[in-house]
Symmetry: C2
């Protein structure tokens, strides 16, 4: 089984990715939608706001209104766009969010911020991270010939929808399914030594030395590398960061083009 995560950043060519996904048996997909969420939020008069924690961790401010827009973009627009394209390629895809069938369950966080010099807990923020994956529902669909296409949000222990990072959700799912490979596709060639130079690709990382590469992981790459380390720790064979902008991006990644961590 392979798990293909395709990002939601600008420049992703979904047609190329999905044409390649359609060549494989026994695949699960996870997707993002951040760029489109920024667009639609802005059009709806609710431009994106980011929070930075004391440790420098950046996350999206997700109040109830933002979460409703998040659901629209991730579960509505992006998920059904991918399912429709897969159906056109002859793949019987089923799109699910993490709240459907309690597919992804996790702990809700209560972010602390500093406002006017005072520390404050944001009580109306709905973010968190995935702790548990309902493998039974995914297996039920795979065994019956469906390709699951999974997207955040997840469900909190109090049954609230929560915004979770897609890369780390993908890592949790790959771990829970004992996937042979987790392919994480985005709009860059992989992990770069110099974030401004696509030629500075790091081609191979030993799993047990992966932590040493954290300094190279800038921006969104940070969570991808964290997810990769978690997945490898939990038995996933290989994690590959591949380029979503090339022909046959899944196949190329599986052939070792990109950053291979194993």
């Amino acid at each position: 089984m392979i798990l293909v995560k395709v990002g939601g950043a600008v420049g992703i060519d979904y047609d190329r990715v999905l044409q390649d996904v359609a060549r494989y048996q026994d695949v699960v997909m996870v997707h993002g939608g951040s760029a489109e969420l920024n667009n639609i939020s802005t059009l709806l008069g609710k431009p994106p706001r980011m929070l930075t924690s004391a440790s420098g961790h950046v996350s999206r401010r997700t109040d109830p209104e933002t979460l409703a827009i998040f659901n629209m973009v991730y579960c509505g627009k992006m998920n059904k766009m991918i399912v429709e394209k897969l159906q056109q390629l002859g793949v019987n895809a089923v799109g699910l969010s993490g709240i459907d069938g309690r597919l992804l369950v996790g702990k809700r966080k209560h972010p602390r911020v500093v406002e006017n010099g005072k520390k404050k807990v944001l009580r109306d923020d709905y973010t968190g991270r995935v702790d548990r994956v309902n493998v039974d529902l995914i297996t039920l669909l795979l065994d019956n010939g469906f390709l699951p296409v999974i997207t955040p949000p997840a469900l909190s222990y109090d049954n609230e929808a929560i915004n979770v990072d897609g890369d780390r959700a993908a890592a949790s799912i790959a771990s829970a399914l004992d996937a042979e490979a987790l392919v994480i596709l985005s709009n860059i060639p992989g992990l770069l030594r110099d974030v401004d130079d696509e030629a500075s690709l790091i081609e191979h990382i030993d799993a047990d030395r992966a932590e040493e590469y954290m300094p190279f992981a800038q921006g969104r790459m940070k969570k991808k590398l964290l997810g990769a380390i978690e997945a490898l720790d939990q038995g996933v064979g290989t994690v590959i960061f591949g380029d979503a902008r090339v022909d046959e991006p899944v196949t190329r990644a599986l052939q070792g083009r990109g950053t291979v961590i194993q």
Copy 2:
């Protein structure tokens, strides 16, 4: 098995509906989202446009941009709002659109309109009606303890997402599942003799005389009655038009409050 369809019109109290749904075993839900689609479309600078056919049939003009907004509202906002509320009520709901797992398949229509005195076929309109229901996927979920929450769009024979009427989709699903009852909840008490007088409720209709009541079916009630006739023709025991604004709306409908057609 009962099928509960809850409309998407203004004034629907989803909490009441879902609290009542949670009391039943062996339920499938179908929902709409028309009022919220009108809101969000307007906010996104794409206000709703309706088409009227030569026979007086009114439908939403669904160009590709409208369909993407349709997916956002129906599959994203409304579907996940319902799934989240059901999870909070202890019901393990799974939300699906008609394109997921080819759940609802039908023929795409090519609406004809008159523009500047000339007849014209709208080639970029994505509407149609449901011909086939993938009962296997619904049964698979029911047999494994999930409550399916189903929404348009459906999938055309050419694998395009198409906007289909939710009431008639619900009728097709109820028929395909041989449901004992199809409960159609909306923001009125049922079929009225006088559309402006809620006291003029028609309480009972014999299934074989249902066509005679078509003149009373104004606006959206027309498709509900058409759907009811189709469902009864195909073996559904009872169809009830009930009021979604009261306490225990499903239970009251099943007790005969509303318009009972059998």
